[in-house]
């Protein structure tokens, strides 16, 4: 089916089979591979994108549903060469190891800070509770997000 999606501020035309997931469209049709497959069931957070400003699992949205929303992926967060404050904070705090879960964490954190610029630690933990990390950078990620919150 033919659809027009708004991704990272641009309108993109696609032609995909019915019920294709947004994750598959991003990765396989639009070349936006920064959004990653982890479980296909919305249980790990690796595929989170911003949909109308909320962090959602792109593996659970169909392309058809996504066509009615403004989608922002991790590739769309930076402003040219200038990183989004959350991205910069993750680099500065070295809040990553393998980096596979990082896109999803950054999306969750960006959504959180957009609705609550000064979240307390519990709010940060709750907002990122859906983002699993196996390398164990939770503590560093919390501190990175606190740093952004503190500086705003």
């Amino acid at each position: 089916m033919k659809l027009a999606l708004t991704v990272n501020g641009q309108s993109r035309d696609i032609d995909v089979p019915p019920n294709t997931s947004l994750l598959s469209v991003l990765r396989d049709d639009l070349g936006l591979t920064g959004t990653r497959y982890g479980c296909g069931r919305g249980q790990c957070g690796a595929c989170y994108v911003l949909a109308d400003g909320r962090a959602v699992a792109s593996c659970l949205l169909t392309a058809d549903q996504a066509a009615r929303m403004e989608i922002t992926t991790v590739e769309g967060l930076a402003d040219g060469a200038e990183l989004h404050p959350v991205q910069q904070a993750f680099v500065d705090a070295d809040a990553l190891q393998c980096g596979y879960c990082t896109s999803g964490m950054i999306i969750s954190a960006a959504a959180l800070l957009a609705r609550d610029p000064e979240p307390d630690e519990t709010s940060i933990r709750d907002a990122l509770a859906g983002n699993l990390c196996r390398c164990g950078v939770y503590g560093r990620a919390i501190r990175a997000i606190q740093r952004v919150a503190g500086s705003s």
């Binding site: 190891q97 980096g99 503590g139």
Partner: protein, 660 residues
């Protein structure tokens, strides 16, 4: 088998390019443990170039020297001195060339930010390569950059690939996109080891997007234009399987056998015998296994995640019938896999699908496949007996480790001893011990996982040390110190006690536990603080860790690795158990195999890197994870009186173990 074969040559290690950049080559692989960063730091320092100009190529089998694989946290220890020497040798050659070119004595020349300088002149490295590239056998002795001139080594440096990762630009295996790339999906048997009797693919072949249904031996899969199409068609393939139970091997390995162990046990003033049990657990990478294969008649290119690119090359060559030299393996950055990538399952399957379909194929396992078909950490049952004299000194130690095989490296007793028997011999001194490793069969597919058997053995040994201290009414730190002969080991234990304020009292159902170990010459001691609710729920509050990994290239990288090891190990200890029946894994999703989340992360993990700078660098990828389970279990005992000898420390288990 770890030995290198040929003398190391400069051109296989360091290439100075005409544009002034430097390429450093290594057969080691970075899974997030920061090798790329550490290698870049070393080379930038020795060659005197800004770190941004250093590119580190890891594991490309067409470019890097042969390497057995990335295991056991050896990588920095093995490669750091070599790359340092290679870079220093390159710098010396550049100075020699500049000397000839400028007609100045070498003594008048120096280097600065990617150029040779002297006599008022400045020649960028790129201009010294006109005649020929730098080459030659790296000499045994090369004079190195004095430490005062090192700009990066020893200083905190964030991951060199961090910017690419936070912007989503980093290319993981499953992100590779080639012209004509098709997608693969496998048809799985009912249980591992099953033989394929017949395949009916008549329905699958007619489904939308299907390119081919491929069968080779007992491997069968579908290639289609899109991922969902491949999966739908794979589900429509009717395969008839003949189940053949497979079991792991059996072996017995005496690890240590001092005289008088039994006699001294019988004559001891105090005796204790306990058994500790750990279930199998999953590697559970966030990114499931993936590979891209482009197999053609005249050669193959493989984009993979692996610990051993040359091993993959050999296996793929055999699978698709090409000479090894015609197979190029390009390791990509991959999801952390903690050992799982020692096996090239996805690569071999993708190669079969590509060969059978004539298309480049990306195969990414599903989450369910990753849990169901990956190898797992084996279970372990550890029996310990020890005797103490009237003064509370250990006089005898007997240890029987029952586990399954931890690697595919073979049943040679020496290999089993350092893999499945890793850290079974206690690090304590002053008493005779008898340590035996019993490899027992299992239907579960087991293999390498972070620290091999050390995490299991140290859980048992360090829990038991705590129990011995309690039995003889001694402080757990003091009791350990009485049995430590090695100064570096003693120091990390003393320091972690200081750093954590070990003597301070905790209250309100809180308690602290200590555990320590020596893992491949890395010394590590941890104190955990937990809170135990009346219903038995354990919350990890804080962890303090002192680590001595010898000379430290990137202290920030070390802290990150150790923190991560502790966090992951806390997840194993508090949450994880893989259930299996007849070789089949029962919990195949994050809902049935939960791991620690942001909510479970402790308030803080304080890592103090206190390396003995006079000692060679040792690994930090694994040791952080090793003592954590015992530190937590010992803290649970201090907090609640519940002594847990089995993990995970579930609420029900803890409640039942609480004293009435």
């Amino acid at each position: 088998m770890w030995d290198r074969r040929d003398p190391e040559r400069l051109e296989q290690r360091i290439r100075v390019e005409r544009d002034g950049t430097v390429t450093a080559l290594s057969g080691k692989i970075d899974f997030g443990q920061g090798l790329r960063t550490a290698f870049a730091q070393i080379v930038a320092d020795e060659l005197d170039v800004p770190i941004e100009r250093v590119r580190v190529v890891l594991g490309d089998t067409d470019q890097v020297p042969f390497d057995f694989g990335t295991f056991g946290s050896h990588s920095v220890a093995q490669e750091a001195p070599l790359l340092r020497k290679a870079a220093a040798f390159a710098r010396r050659q550049l100075v020699d060339r500049a000397s000839a070119k400028l007609g100045l004595a070498k003594e008048e020349l120096d280097t600065e930010a990617g150029a040779v300088v002297g006599g008022g002149k400045r020649v960028p490295y790129g201009e010294l390569l006109d005649s020929e590239p730098l080459a030659g056998i790296i000499p045994e002795r090369v004079s190195l950059m004095p430490e005062t001139r090192r700009k990066y080594s020893g200083r905190p440096t964030p991951h060199v690939e961090a910017r690419d990762i936070v912007t989503g630009r980093a290319t993981f295996v499953a992100d590779i996109r080639l012209p004509g790339l098709a997608r693969g999906a496998m048809v799985r048997p009912p249980a591992r080891g099953a033989k394929l009797r017949s395949v009916d693919d008549s329905t699958a072949r007619k489904m939308p997007g299907v390119v081919a249904v491929v069968r080779q031996g007992d491997v069968v899969g579908v290639v289609a234009e899109r991922d969902e199409q491949a999966r739908a068609a794979a589900a429509a393939v009717e395969a008839d399987w003949h189940a053949l139970p497979v079991e792991g091997p059996t072996a017995e390995v005496p690890m240590r056998s001092d005289p008088e162990v039994d006699e001294r046990l019988r004559g001891a003033a105090m005796r204790l015998a306990q058994t500790y049990v750990l279930p199998p657990i999953a590697n559970a990478p966030i990114g499931p296994s993936a590979a891209v294969a482009d197999v053609r008649a005249d050669g193959a290119t493989m984009y993979v995640g692996t610990h051993r690119p040359f091993g993959v090359r050999e296996q793929v060559a055999k699978t698709v019938g090409l000479p090894e030299k015609k197979v190029r393996v390009l390791p990509q950055i991959t999801s952390g896999t903690y050992g799982r990538n020692s096996h090239a399952d996805a690569a071999i399957e993708a190669a079969i699908l590509s060969k059978g379909s004539g298309r480049p194929v990306l195969l990414q396992w599903t989450r369910e496949e990753e849990f169901a078909w990956s190898p797992s950490r084996p279970e372990a049952v550890l029996e310990i007996s020890a005797g103490l004299d009237a003064d509370g000194h250990i006089v005898s130690w007997r240890y029987d480790e029952h586990t399954n095989v931890h690697t595919a490296a073979g049943l040679d007793p020496g290999v089993l001893g350092v893999t499945s028997g890793r850290n079974a011999v206690p690090p304590y001194a002053g008493f005779p011990s008898k340590v035996t490793l019993h490899i027992e069969p299992t239907r579960l597919r087991t293999a390498n996982f972070r620290s091999l058997a050390a995490a299991e053995n140290v859980f048992a040994i360090e829990s038991f040390m705590d129990e011995l201290a309690a039995l003889s009414e001694q402080d757990p730190v003091a009791f350990r110190l009485r049995h430590i002969a090695d100064d570096r080991f003693r120091r990390v234990v003393e320091r972690v006690a200081e750093r954590s304020g070990w003597q301070e009292r905790t209250a309100n159902r809180r308690g602290r536990g200590i555990a320590c170990t020596v893992y491949h010459d890395t010394y590590v001691a941890q104190v955990a603080e937990v809170e135990v609710s009346l219903s038995g729920a354990v919350r990890l509050i804080k962890v303090w860790c002192v680590v001595d990994p010898g000379q430290t290239v990137n202290p920030e990288g070390v802290r990150n690795q150790i923190e991560g090891g502790i966090q992951q190990s806390a997840s194993w200890t508090l949450k994880e158990e893989l259930l299996h029946r007849d070789g089949r894994v029962m919990n195949t999703g994050w809902d049935t195999y939960p791991i620690a989340t942001f909510r479970d992360a402790p308030e803080s993990i304080e890592v103090f890197v206190e390396g003995d700078e006079s000692a060679p660098p040792t690994g930090v990828g694994e040791p952080g994870a090793v003592p954590t389970a015992a530190a937590i279990a010992n803290a649970v005992y201090a907090a609640s009186g519940a002594r847990l000898r089995s993990v995970p420390l579930t609420r029900e288990r803890v409640r039942k173990a609480m004293p009435a």
